[in-house]
């Protein structure tokens, strides 16, 4: 019984138990408005649902304890994320329990907002819209986030009733360029998905598919499926971009091109392929046209414009042409300017040239975000509104005022007096601030809905908890206000009906089953896919005019943030507290520049600079790092809110404020960068809230790497020395003791010796594990000031090191308590607060701890965290606290416990069935959520447990093992293609 199926039981068994597997009478079972029968105090119930933190739409299961959701995890049955979840998904809870969440609707009067009842708000909305509707066509407009099909239908229907045109779907990152490229080259007017897992060589022009691009969790596991070392095999990943973000940090080769020249390189490669007679299958005229269009992109020109060294470029060409199943991904999410457009088209063409079958392009499973409107349409809407063509504007969970560059007209339009703006947001963000009525709807974890991350599947949402506000489901709200009389009793029935109509389900039972497993989809692994059918006949007209790369100047780029996405995550303390994977800076939004640039401007990390463009300016601290092109100033999107809540407000700066709002006519989108900005020192400097010390590891044995070549040579000779370099692997088991080295006698454990294996070759540094740990273990949020003081509480941190030999190479190391067999922390405690458990855990007894902090001083890994104060969980955040884990008081030491509460739970299960705990039955939160399966947990004493077998991997080592601590966390070396 492997981990997945177990989770399935834990996750869904309880629901079926709740449903009693009977088709009738499950009516109220899934909502906890009344205390449900399936609620057993002290026992968790799991509800399958869908994550709506980004348009990807991963499947989740939500853990319900005593009527409140305390944790969300990926749904193992869901083909998209296969049980995994990213940092943002983990943090979904913090929207539900956010202290700044609105509990009642707010009506704007002369002197600010006043709270009103939901009925009144609903009534008000209803009257407003129907009045408007009577006044003529298009008097009511709706701007919504990307929503599921059911909700979309209701919206359309309602708007139709109000004789207005369909809603405008607003997404800050709407992939306009990519859609055009797909239309032109694949004949698919939408967003295809990619079978990364099938590729053996990957080339991206900025697509940050591990963070935010289309469907990050999906592409994370697919990426590792091709990129993790399988014996002597390992996929190859080239990135062409002026900067690295998390995705770039995982590239084997980063070709730092000058800002705005991705397209040049892409077209150059097209040219190269044509020159070596690729693409004979293309229609001759297309081929001719292509050759003509790519004429300007001969190698010299490309190298000159992009500034990429010849060697690297040649290497790329060679590897690309040699690859058996290469796949080329286009530009990043935000890149819908000329450059992005050309780059995307070119990359699609590259795919076409490299693989006429387009076998790795999946047109059958398309990403839902394709429904988003082009930026141009959004701006048009605001123009229209401004000119007073409508009376009511309904905003469903969108924040254009924050997400759109200045001069976007949104602010002006919303402020127009004659327009009645209703925001359905749960928070007073920059947009709702301008609304006349804020009518909060219930959040995804509290609501019925469906959503199709892939066009091919249906993924359901169900209320996983009791309501903590009276907010109505958006669906129900529209059923009320959108129709004279409710067409169906409630939105839930509506969804079921719709599914029945479309023939996806036949009866109530199937409906229940669907809800139980979280949707209708093929089991993971049996996803059917189809390559695009049509092939282009003529040259995409966008390529007709040659792409002009921008003038060389200091360029500015905004990268979607792995933590905040477009900024919607900025009010979730976990996401603020978990530092950026590259800069390790939390709560703040530094501008990243290359050390050379910094030097030339006499700047040092943490100096505050003013970045100014024609459209605006901002001030932010500098962070000098080698992962950006010297000609670029990089900044992450998402922070710099002026409203939205205590955690978001006044933290960092909003880089979007520097961008032009003009759209690229060819695709109707905009870019996320601009060529010429000025960067000047303000003379001030701040203390960066960073959690790291040195950026390099000074030749120490924390992160070890090996090369593919070495790996192919076969296992290295066994190490037998005493020094850092040649100390052998000493398992935390009796056989790990050697009388020549060990003063201490070996000690036995009873039945279990818990241990973890961390495959550094799989770890992409996304930080999902850290977030899961915050959620599972009630870690305190300390805030910016105290992180500056070095008091963060993360039990598990993703340590980032730069390669001393090549500073632009970044490596990640999940660092958590190593549960050593000879843990230096234990013996120094005067009161036995930390000690070695009979199952090998390094226990920390909070009640016993008196806070001498000697353990932390003596821990070579510095993974212990101290409660300097009593941390606060402002109401209702305390509802999220995991009842199985103590909340630590001030003055005690804490650290990773290997989720001992989960071990206990598993033991109870095992005891009840009186059997030993099975392999895979215990999965700590971090292991459970890791999108790339980099973490493996298990029992070392079980000879054929996964962890034990992985210990025999030639890559296995222990961090600083020569200190003879005998860590129970065994790392597997990261595999490099070459040094």
């Amino acid at each position: 019984m492997n981990r997945r199926t177990f989770l399935k039981l834990a996750g869904l068994g309880s629901v079926s138990f709740a449903a009693g597997c009977s088709p009738e009478s499950p009516k109220y079972l899934y909502s906890l408005v009344q205390a449900p029968e399936d609620m057993v105090t002290g026992k968790a119930t799991w509800y399958a649902s869908t994550c709506r933190e980004c348009p990807a739409g991963c499947g989740i299961i939500a853990k319900n304890r005593e009527g409140r959701v305390v944790k969300v995890e990926g749904n193992p049955l869901h083909p998209l994320n296969r049980g995994k979840l990213c940092m943002r998904g983990q943090a979904a809870l913090q929207a539900v329990y956010n202290p700044d969440r609105l509990k009642t609707p707010l009506l704007k009067e002369k002197d600010g907002f006043v709270p009103i009842g939901f009925d009144r708000a609903q009534a008000l909305l209803k009257t407003k819209v129907w009045e408007a509707a009577r006044r003529g066509a298009d008097r009511v407009r709706l701007m919504t986030e990307v929503v599921g099909e059911s909700q979309m239908e209701i919206f359309r229907a309602a708007l139709k009733n109000w004789n207005s045109s369909p809603p405008v779907v607003f997404e800050p990152f709407a992939y306009e360029a990519l859609k055009v490229a797909n239309r032109e080259v694949f004949g698919v007017d939408g967003l295809v998905s990619y079978r990364l897992d099938q590729a053996d060589m990957l080339l991206a022009f900025g697509a940050e598919f591990l963070e935010t691009w289309l469907s990050p969790v999906e592409y994370a596991w697919k990426f590792k499926a091709m990129h993790a070392a399988r014996g002597p095999e390992k996929g190859l990943f080239f990135l062409v971009s002026p900067f690295q973000t998390l995705t770039g940090a995982n590239a084997d080769h980063w070709l730092a091109c000058a800002p705005g020249t991705e397209a040049v390189v892409a077209l150059g490669l097209v040219r190269q392929l044509l020159d070596i007679r690729r693409g004979k299958h293309l229609p001759p005229d297309l081929r001719e046209a292509l050759e003509k269009a790519t004429e300007p992109y001969q190698q010299e020109a490309v190298l000159k414009l992009s500034g990429i060294p010849l060697a690297q470029y040649e290497q790329l060409v060679v590897r690309l042409t040699e690859a058996r199943r290469p796949l080329v991904l286009g530009a990043g999410s935000g890149q819908s300017d000329a450059n992005g457009l050309a780059a995307n088209i070119a990359s699609n063409l590259l795919n076409l040239l490299l693989d006429p079958e387009l076998s790795l392009i999946d047109a059958a499973n398309r990403h839902r975000v394709e429904t988003a409107a082009r930026r141009a349409e959004v701006l048009d809407l605001f123009k229209a509104l401004f000119s007073g063509q409508s009376d009511v504007l309904i905003l469903n969970n969108v924040n254009p005022v924050f997400n759109l560059p200045p001069e976007n007209g949104a602010k002006a339009a919303l402020e127009a007096s004659n327009l009645f703006v209703v925001s359905l947001s749960d928070f007073i963000d920059e947009t709702s601030l301008l609304a006349d009525l804020i009518l909060p709807g219930s959040l995804p974890l509290e609501t019925w809905d469906d959503y199709s991350g892939w066009s091919s599947l249906v993924s359901t949402l169900q209320p996983a908890m009791g309501k903590i506000t009276e907010a109505p489901h958006i669906g129900d709200l529209f059923l009320d206000v959108g129709f004279e009389t409710r067409p169906v009793p409630d939105y839930k029935t509506y969804i079921a009906e719709r599914l029945r109509k479309t023939g996806r389900i036949r009866n109530e039972l199937e409906w229940v089953r669907t809800l139980q497993q979280g949707g209708l989809f093929p089991a993971a692994g049996q996803v059917t896919s189809a390559s695009p059918a049509t092939r282009p006949q003529r040259l995409p007209r966008e390529l007709a005019s040659p792409y002009e790369s921008p003038p060389a100047g200091l360029a500015f780029a905004v990268a979607p943030s792995v933590r905040f996405f477009d900024g919607r995550g900025a009010n979730k303390p976990w996401l603020c507290e978990i530092p950026d994977p590259i800069s390790r800076v939390a709560w703040q939004s530094p501008v990243m520049i290359h050390p050379a640039t910094a030097k030339s401007k006499g700047l040092r990390t943490a100096d505050v600079v003013r970045v100014t463009s024609r459209w605006g300016s901002l001030e932010a601290p500098v962070y000098a790092t080698e992962v950006v092109h010297p000609g670029l100033v990089l900044m992450a999107a998402g922070q710099g809110h002026t409203a939205y809540g205590r955690y978001a407000k006044d933290h960092g700066a909003n880089p979007l404020g520097l961008l032009p709002s003009a759209v690229e006519p060819a695709c109707g989108g905009t870019g996320c960068g601009l060529p010429d900005i000025t960067l000047e020192a303000t003379g001030r400097s701040v203390e960066l809230a960073h959690t790291d010390g040195s950026r390099i590891q000074h030749g120490r044995a924390f992160i070890l790497t090996t090369t593919l070549a070495d790996l192919q040579k076969g296992p290295p000779p066994a190490r037998a020395g005493l020094t850092m370099g040649d100390f052998p692997l000493t398992l935390p088991l009796p056989e790990g003791y050697d009388p020549k080295r060990d003063f201490y006698p070996p000690h036995d454990h009873d039945h279990y010796r818990w241990a973890m294996v961390v495959d550094l070759d799989r770890c992409i540094g996304c930080g999902a594990c850290a977030a899961a740990c915050y959620a599972e273990n009630n870690l305190g949020i300390v805030g910016e000031k105290r992180i500056v003081q070095g008091r963060e509480m993360a039990w598990l941190e993703i340590v980032r090191y730069h390669d001393e030999r090549r500073m632009e190479r970044v490596m990640f190391l999940p660092m958590l308590c190593q549960h050593c067999d000879n843990a230096p922390c234990e013996s120094v405690c005067p009161v036995y607060a930390p000690h070695h458990s009979s199952e090998g855990l390094n226990n920390q007894i909070y009640n016993r701890c008196i806070g001498t902090r000697f353990c932390s001083q003596n821990c070579p890994y510095k993974v212990r965290r101290f409660n300097w104060f009593d941390w606060e969980w402002p109401e209702p955040m305390n509802l999220q606290l995991n009842p199985d884990v103590t909340v630590r008081s001030k003055g005690v030491m804490e650290k990773c416990s290997f989720c001992i509460q989960r071990i206990k739970e598993a033991r109870t299960w095992a005891k009840n069935e009186n059997r030993p705990i099975r392999e895979g039955e215990v999965t700590p939160a971090c292991v459970q959520t890791c999108p790339t399966d980099a973490l493996v947990f298990g029992n070392l004493m079980d000879k054929d447990s996964r962890v034990r077998r992985l210990c025999d991997d030639p890559r296995a080592y222990q961090a600083m093992g020569y200190l003879n601590t005998k860590p129970a966390v065994i790392y597997l070396k990261k595999v490099l293609h070459e040094v």
């Binding site: 005493l722 020094t723 100390f727 009388p739 020549k740 080295r741 060990d742 003063f743 201490y744 000879n822 230096p824 013996s827 020569y962 200190l963 003879n964």
Partner: protein, 409 residues
């Protein structure tokens, strides 16, 4: 104070008889024979090991004893009486020690295991030329200051009539006549005495690191140097007590070494017994507790791995337990006979302790203790050298001996 000590007329009876020389010569010859035999035998490195160990041990004795004189003088301790004089006599071994040091150079290939292994950059420090240069210079400085100090001391003791051989005269230089001279010599003596103490600490630490610790080039202990010179003083005191006791036994009360003297020096010996144990324990605890293989492996090999574990216990008992238990009793300290026995035991113990430290490094994977007749004989040989050195010094400079007559209370 030494200045107040009346100039003495060394009586013939005070100086050692010829028999003593013969004894010394015989012992030395035996040792030499054994050593050469060992060299020509199947295991020359064993002979060299024995040579090194004894060289360290006996030099330490001489250096330690002279330190007694210098240090008591520097702190103006009033209780030493004739002892500090006697202690000076051990300087006679300095030249021998220096010679032996140079002889080590011959056996370098047998003596320095690190010559044959990769030192990961430590070669900068661990290479024969540099090692012998710095240690040679160290010895020269140490012995130089020692002699300088003692010659001033002698000058003051010679008194008006410094009849005697050339060496006496050469060393003594011109004998101070006027009070001002005396004061000047006094000052020089203070200076050199202080310098000797300082040099002792520095040079013996260096020797400890270079000739003992570095034999296992991957192991370090910061205290090792201090441990080495405390040990030296420990054995030095032992040797001094033995000498004093012998003199006392031969000349009775006329030697002027009162019970109080034996008691005091005995207490000091006791104190250093404790200090030695302390330094031993301090290193053991820190390494045991730290549990870092780079450090522990060295100790493990020497304390819990056969055949060394037995030796370790013997050393501990002989160098600490026995003297500790015995010396708690104050009366025993005043019995010369008993003290001779005890000190000899301790010296033997330290001899074994050197074997414990060096043996494992010099004999890899030794099945049984590398300890045999040769080693014993070489020990005896060095004893002989020491006897000769002492006899010669005392003969040439009877001033080292206590003045005849009633002991000053």
């Amino acid at each position: 104070m030494n200045t107040t000590m009346p100039p003495v007329q060394p009586g013939r009876n005070a100086a050692p008889q010829r028999s003593l020389f013969t004894l010394g010569a015989v012992l030395a010859a035996a040792g030499l024979a054994a050593f050469l035999a060992g060299l020509l035998g199947p295991h020359p490195q064993r002979a060299w090991q024995a040579f090194l160990i004894n060289f360290l041990l006996w030099s330490a004795m001489a250096q330690g004893a002279v330190l007694f004189s210098a240090v008591t003088h520097t702190v103006k301790a009033r209780w030493t009486g004739p002892l500090s004089g006697l202690a000076g006599a051990f300087a006679g071994f300095f030249p021998v020690s220096l010679a032996c040091f140079l002889i080590l150079l011959i056996g370098k290939n047998h003596l320095f295991p690190w010559l044959h292994e990769d030192l990961h950059g430590k070669e900068i420090w661990l290479n024969i030329p540099f090692l012998f240069t710095r240690d040679g210079i160290g010895f020269l400085i140490l012995y130089g200051t020692g002699w300088a100090y003692l010659s001033q001391d002698l000058k003051l003791k010679f008194g008006t009539s410094a009849a005697g051989g050339g060496l006496r005269r050469m060393l003594a230089g011109r004998i101070p006549q006027s009070d001002t001279d005396i004061q000047r010599v006094q000052r020089r003596k203070n200076l050199w005495g202080g310098l000797y103490c300082f040099a002792f600490a520095l040079v013996l630490s260096l020797i400890g690191f270079d000739l003992v610790m570095s034999m296992d080039p991957h192991w370090v202990s910061t205290l090792f140097g201090a441990y080495h010179f405390v040990k030296a003083f420990y054995v030095g005191l032992g040797a001094l007590i033995i000498l004093a006791a012998i003199v006392h036994l031969r000349r009775g009360r006329s030697a002027g070494i009162a019970a109080a003297h034996f008691h005091d020096v005995g207490k000091l010996f006791f104190a250093f017994c404790l200090l030695w144990a302390d330094f031993f324990y301090v290193q053991l605890t820190v390494i045991w507790y730290g549990n870092i293989p780079e450090e522990t492996s060295y100790v493990i090999l020497r304390t819990v791995t056969p055949p060394w574990d037995a030796l370790a216990w013997v050393v501990f008992i002989v160098c600490f337990i026995i003297p500790f238990v015995v010396l708690i009793n104050r009366r025993i300290k005043t019995m010369p006979g008993a003290m001779i026995a005890l000190c000899s035991i301790v010296i033997l113990g330290i001899w074994l302790e050197h074997l414990l430290l060096l043996g494992p490094a010099l004999n890899h994977a030794a099945a049984e203790l590398p300890l045999g007749v040769t080693d014993g004989l070489v020990f005896v040989g060095f004893l002989g050298l020491m006897v000769l050195a002492l006899a010669y010094t005392l003969k040439t400079f009877p001033e080292f001996l206590p003045p005849g007559g009633e002991a000053p209370r």
